[in-house]
Homo-oligomer: 153 residues x 2
């Protein structure tokens, strides 16, 4: 029977896909990062982070927000009181800061190479979670060289 060759070109083992498991690991983190970032933003701009508003801004139902918030609470990132604003813990706040910094660098970089603002923001929302420290540093360097770097704020 016409089986394709199995050990034909088996000269030496094929390389692994550039870092197996890393993408999956990043995906398990990114919802938490986006929530922390958005909660911080809502608190600082409106004074509260309410379930309904999170749901509206994230484009999911309030049920999804509730379940995710429960998970973040188990992970020690937020605290909640029934029918009150969601609050960030110390860890949650720190995470939100890191996330925002990373987010702004990615947006700034994309814009610096000519991407329109709306596209840059949309692309960054997903890309930001897959940019390594080294690449982020290269983005910052690129921005600094063009005098576009906003240090920490």
């Amino acid at each position: 029977m016409n089986r394709p060759p199995t050990k034909s070109v088996k000269a030496y083992p094929l390389p692994l896909k550039g870092n197996p498991g890393r993408t999956r690991e990043e995906h398990s983190q990114e919802t938490a990062l986006d929530y922390a970032e958005l909660i911080a933003e809502l608190i600082s701009t409106t004074g509260a982070a309410r379930v309904t508003e999170l749901a509206r801004r994230l484009g999911v139902t309030h049920v999804t927000v509730n379940r995710t918030i429960q998970r973040l609470q188990r992970g020690g990132l937020v605290r909640t009181r029934p029918y009150h604003s969601i609050l960030l813990t110390g860890a949650g706040w720190k995470l939100s800061e890191e996330s925002r910094r990373r987010h702004e660098i990615v947006v700034g970089f994309l814009k610096s190479i000519g991407i329109p603002d709306a596209v840059a923001r949309s692309d960054a929302e997903g890309m930001e979670h897959h940019v390594s420290k080294k690449t982020l540093a290269a983005f910052v360097k690129h921005l600094k060289r063009r005098g576009l770097h906003k240090p920490s704020r």
Copy 2:
């Protein structure tokens, strides 16, 4: 009780998070794209795409590969015969081509801004799925300007 202000600064509605739902939609696609790309690569370099080899290269178990392949088959991207090589359908092959092109552009761009090859390949594996057509075009333009563009092959 000290409820945070709810309708305080409600001057006009806060903007949605730069394209709600897009990231989730991309995530549901990206496993399929990576599988299609890898299957094509294995077939062209070794003559066959076997379950075990896919599992090894992707860093998951063969069980995960089987389940994903079943899903891709339901989606019309691959065909399988028990204990034989996985084959790409027309749609699957087309998808693998698009995916490979996109992948190479992202890797090339990252390398062009000074990212080491290994880091570029690792970062690209996740980033590639969140880069819009416009941003991809900007990457290509950037590469062309530096004479680093490899046109499709």
